[in-house]
């Protein structure tokens, strides 16, 4: 990245093990610039979610551990800290799969996000209003039990809930999963606006590569626990391999046909 601003988050060659034996990340280095959006792409099981959990510290609750390398947030090493401390520093992870507190109302969900009360009760109220400003739909549904609102509204609830913590860095894990295209569009529009207006840095994990490359100006590609590619989205969109494997386009730019599927084997070389 040319002329890059100071990073808010820096992963230096981290290695993650689960249950002390299963090596999931084998040296991952990522930088998120202050006030930037960075996308993390990769297939299922590549280690994207693990990377996010390593940052937010949730890894420790799944018996995982950062065994090598370091994670720096605003110049401070955080990979040894507990998840609650990391959250207090201003990193919030939106776990994949719309994990609302399903027996609480939508508003109560948001209030739990304000649990840390940075800046006292008054700011919690202000932030609640702010969340309702970005997600007007949540205001309509605020008294409803979160387990029963629609999938899109649940996704909005968890993003809004994360916003309530007043984060400096938001780790978004597949916000598009299982949602209708129109809703995905709506949610990503709001995320982009949040990023621009509130100055929140975002590390975005997505399977929907096209979408991710449109939202984030810079992206990393993760395969089998290693970063295999990283570049600006402009250039990644032109990359043959990305086109082939993630965007499903042929060289000419048209839709890929099943006939060309053999290419897959040839192209896969850098993936292993």
């Amino acid at each position: 990245m040319e002329n890059k601003p100071e990073p808010i988050l820096k992963l230096n060659n981290i290695e993650v093990k689960y249950h002390e034996v299963i090596l999931v990340l084998k040296g991952v280095s990522i930088e998120v610039p202050k006030g930037g959006i960075v996308a993390l792409l990769g297939a299922n099981g590549a280690g994207k979610s693990t990377t996010l959990k390593a940052i937010s510290g949730l890894l420790k609750h799944e018996d995982g551990e950062v065994t090598d390398g370091s994670i720096e947030f605003l110049g401070e090493q955080i990979h040894k800290k507990r998840a609650v401390e990391i959250a207090k520093m201003g990193i919030v992870q939106v776990i994949e799969g719309r994990r609302v507190f399903e027996h609480l109302t939508v508003e109560q969900n948001l209030l739990v996000g304000g649990h840390m009360r940075k800046g006292g009760d008054k700011t919690v109220k202000e932030r609640l209003e702010m969340v309702y400003h970005y997600f007007p739909r949540l205001k309509q549904k605020r008294k409803e039990i979160a387990g029963f609102v629609s999938g899109g509204e649940q996704q909005m609830t968890v993003v809004g809930r994360a916003l309530m913590t007043n984060p400096k860095l938001m780790l978004l894990d597949e916000p598009s999963m299982g949602l209708a295209p129109l809703l995905i569009h709506e949610i990503f529009e709001i995320i982009t606006r949040l990023h621009e207006k509130e100055g929140i840095s975002i590390l975005l994990v997505e399977q929907n590569v096209k979408l991710a490359l449109n939202v984030a100006p810079y992206a990393y590609v993760l395969e089998n626990g290693r970063i295999v590619l990283d570049d600006t989205s402009e250039r990644l969109k032109e990359n043959e391999d990305i086109k082939d494997f993630y965007l499903g386009l042929t060289d000419v730019g048209g839709r890929k046909s099943f006939r060309d599927v053999k290419h897959y084997k040839r192209r896969k070389r850098w993936l292993t």
Binding site: V84, V112, G113
Partner: protein, 297 residues
């Protein structure tokens, strides 16, 4: 006494005692909800609280103040128990934790017998006037009435705590999805400790009230077992369920005592709630309001 009169008297007394059960059951449900631990030491928590209240009352402290002191000691003991015995077990198989609560129940029981002995003690002088209260045609022992009022007030305070305070919401959130709660900066360790503290406090008050009714000895901890049919009835993780379950068990127990005792003399009052629990489980394994996990289809 006429038949209808007997019926209504049994109903009211049952309801009043049920209020106490509801309070203890709520304490039990909180621990189950927040940490998934089936606490088999609940009965011992009730006698500890009851004995603490009794000791201070005997020293001349007014009853209300004695209960408050017992609440504070319950708070400290609850946090201590969680920190000393259960904190290091977080992440271990849940059966291990349940077995530890069995161990805890023996430990507490031993402690109580060691400190306070095994003789039955009564609150002397009686806390509540011996003269019964008359409401319409109902005659209720004032100890029952006041116990009920106290239990209901505490229940309301607890329910309000869960619905409206920051920590109450955080505890409910942890019960729903611990990982998501942690990601928002909710300390799970604090939630567990708070759950145990609340359970200790609720059980302590319940025990003190029951001690006023029947006198106090180690067998009051039988109440801890009685909590099980109450929570099974309401659903293991439902707060309103625990309250309704507690009330229902109180009523059932008294009806069994009033109407079945002549056919099955002996302890039918004691075992009836458990018989009921077994039959009830056949038909509603999740209880009335237990979570079957909300699945949107």
């Amino acid at each position: 006494m006429s038949q209808t009169n007997l019926f209504f008297m049994t109903l009211t007394t049952g309801l009043m005692v049920g209020g106490i059960y509801a309070l203890v059951a709520l304490g039990w449900v909180i621990i189950y909800k927040c940490s998934g631990v089936l606490n088999l030491a609940m009965g011992e928590l009730t006698i500890i609280g009851a004995y603490v209240t009794l000791t201070f009352y005997q020293m001349g402290v007014p009853f209300v103040l004695a209960v408050v002191i017992s609440l504070i000691i319950g708070l400290v003991l609850g946090i201590l128990t969680e920190r000393v015995f259960l904190d290091r077990l977080i992440g271990e198989p849940i059966l291990t934790v349940i077995m530890v609560t069995v161990g805890l129940s023996f430990f507490f029981r031993g402690l109580v017998e060691f400190i306070w002995g095994t003789n039955t003690r009564v609150f002397q002088p009686p806390v509540f006037p011996l003269k019964p209260v008359k409401i319409g045609f109902l005659v209720i022992g004032s100890v029952y009435l006041w116990s009920f009022v106290t239990a209901i007030v505490l229940l309301l305070i607890l329910v309000a705590f869960f619905q409206y305070t920051r920590w109450g919401l955080a505890m409910q959130a942890t019960a729903d999805d611990e990982m998501a709660a942690i990601s928002l900066g909710v300390s799970a360790r604090f939630v567990y400790a708070a759950a145990w503290a609340i359970a200790f406090m609720a059980a302590g008050v319940g025990g003190s009230l029951l001690g006023n009714i029947n006198g106090l000895n180690i067998s009051v901890s039988y109440l801890g077992l009685l909590v099980l049919p109450a929570v099974v009835l309401g659903g293991l993780n439902s707060i309103p369920g625990a309250i309704v379950g507690g009330l229902a068990i109180g009523i059932l127990q008294n009806f069994a005592g009033a109407y079945l005792d002549q056919y099955f003399p002996g302890g039918v009052k004691q075992i009836f709630p458990f018989v009921f629990m077994v039959v009830f489980l056949l038909f509603k394994p999740y209880g009335l309001w237990g979570w079957e996990r909300i699945e949107r289809v």
